[in-house]
Amino acid sequence: MSVLTRRQRADQLDDPDVANSLTREAWRRIRQNPLAIVGGTIIVFFVLIAVFAPMLAPFNPRSNAWFDQIRPTSIPGPSRDHWFGLDEGGRDELSRLIFGARASLMIGVLSLGIGAVAGAFFGLVAGAFGGWVDSLIMRLTDILLAVPSLLLALSVAAVIGQSQTAIVVAVAVPNIPLFARMLRSSMLGERQKDYVTSATSVGVRRRSLVMRHVVPNSLAPMLVQASLALSTAIIDAAALSFLGLGSADPGVPEWGRMLANTTRLLNVAPHLAIFPGVAILITALGFNLFGEAVREALDPKLRR
């Protein structure tokens, strides 16, 4: 940090928000980071598409009104009427991609949200109670962490069956032990700190000590993990739907499934593989760039 003039320092001391400077400082760093700007723009772009899908899509994504144009050896590519061409079922590819953004983002965000909240809950319980509760929860996370995440997701989805709910739950489960461990270990770290000792010594009760002091201070690593895990969640969700675990109704547009359906048609209609693939790639890249920026902003070790 550059050397402040006395005047600036005085201003800073007068600023009532300085007490909250960790968050403000982080936010300032994010806004100034070009990675965050590119990533954020991509995220906003896809979120807008997902939200306004019904208005943006030129056609109904499930309508196969153009099925008569589909031949085993040729599928119409991009044209004036269909900017991204038709898919193998005679549906408008662009409309399917737009509605697919909705499914992909929603599944990704939901599954990560469920995983993070459930994980945080277990981590909180383990960190706050300690003792045998802590041991039990930690041994359970050991077991879940012994299975690689995609494999764990697959076995969860296998039990629930073909549906979008299955994908959400399946992608959420591998995140639970990660977030549980993370919140617990950062709570343990916080517990050693002076402010906890002083709060205890002035008689703050255990519950409010945990909820109002320890937890808020332990959240930074969770935030970093969540922003980086979102891209993985979106890719994993697409992967499960690629493997055929999404909705049992083939009319439902999902990026992963759209890619899977075209495997046989690579030579006939490569555009059908390229569009959804690139869509997943760019969305994941956006979340990765933004997550990277959040990490740089919140991780003191990376600050220069």
Partner: protein
């Protein structure tokens, strides 16, 4: 050292025991039980009863659990429902294919990733560095199944340089001793088969290796950057050592610890996570077997496969921990 390994191995037992219990409960937690899930729309009361009897689902829970555990400890997961083959035998037969693919992917990831990360660090804040960082960000964002299809389309279908799917040309005959095609063709002293096996490995290897490549390059770059600023590197330069010697003896060796860690972790993931690549390239390894089992609800295969791969995963991670100790004397002493 031996005590450390033995202790870590013993710690694995409760984890695997717990996992087997979880798998047992998980399959039985289904609404309507496994038989309904298995039969789907074909479920009639008679058929459900038939399946329940055949797989012992009609017995009391505790009896089921005891039989199950007795078999699991002998590593017997029963018969696959769809393939009608012994699950363990099938897993063992297919495992070499997965190892071979993972090794090819790792060779690619390490061979390109470490030099790339090293050069990016040496040229920090140049266009090469920015390019490498961007490429590695794209590398971790690209879905494997998409990359695999694009590689297949360009290099197999359009350019016709490499085969599209499988491990060997269908017409080629090779005696299988080990089920590693590279090893088997060497044993048979068959150069044509060897070249064929290698050609089949290239595209899936690149597809599977891209994510580890990106991660290894990033870690190498970060780790080398940290070491480059250390005093002993400056001293080594100051005493007039050649740049190549400084790089080899001082920079690379000292930055190896995090790199080895990440290579180990990624190897564990590859051995257990080639599901997508194997599906795209019809590889016929464990990953493809499990992906198929998940769709067919072939629970014996899922149970056996998850247990098998979890064991591989934790063992590889154990090897990584042991390797640490060899690389870093500080850990060995403590």
């Amino acid at each position: 050292m031996i005590r450390f390994v033995v202790r870590r191995l013993l710690l694995l037992i409760p984890i695997l025991f717990g996992l087997s219990i979880l798998l047992f409960i998980w399959v039985r937690a289904l609404p309507g039980g496994p038989a309904t899930a298995l039969l789907g729309e074909r479920a009639t009361p008679e058929r459900i009863a038939q399946i329940n009897k055949a797989y012992g689902f009609d017995k009391p829970m505790i009896t089921q659990y005891l039989t199950y555990m007795k078999r699991v400890t002998r590593f017997d997961f029963g018969q696959s429902i769809t393939l009608r083959k012994d699950v363990t035998a099938e897993l063992v037969r297919r495992f070499p294919a997965t190892i071979e693919l993972s090794m090819a992917a790792m060779l690619f990831a390490v061979g390109v990733g470490i030099p790339l990360g090293f050069m990016a660090a040496k040229r920090e804040r140049t266009w090469f560095d920015y390019g490498a960082v961007t490429a590695s960000l794209i590398g971790v964002s690209i879905p494997v199944f998409f990359l695999g299809q694009i590689l297949k389309w360009v290099f197999a279908l359009k350019l016709n340089w490499l085969p599209t799917i499988g491990r060997l040309a269908p017409t080629r005959e090779l005696v299988h001793h080990t089920n590693f095609n590279v090893v088997d063709s060497l044993l048979a002293i068959d150069g044509g088969a060897l070249w064929d096996a290698i050609k089949h490995l290239i595209l899936p290897g690149i597809a599977l290796g891209t994510i580890p490549l990106a991660i290894i390059a990033r870690i190498t770059r970060a780790s080398v950057l940290e070491v480059l600023n250390d005093d002993y590197v400056r001293t080594a330069r100051a005493k007039g050592l050649r740049t190549s010697t400084v790089n080899r003896v001082h920079v690379l060796r000292n930055s190896m610890l995090p790199i080895v860690t990440v290579i180990g972790l990624q190897t564990g993931l590859l051995l257990s996570g080639a599901v997508l690549t194997e599906t795209v390239f019809a590889w016929g390894g464990m990953g493809q077997l499990i992906a198929g089992a998940v769709l067919d609800k072939d629970y014996p295969v899922i149970q056996g496969g998850v247990m098998f791969l979890a064991i591989v995963f934790v063992l590889v991670n154990l090897v990584v921990d042991v390797l640490y100790a060899f690389i870093d004397p500080r850990i060995r002493v403590s």
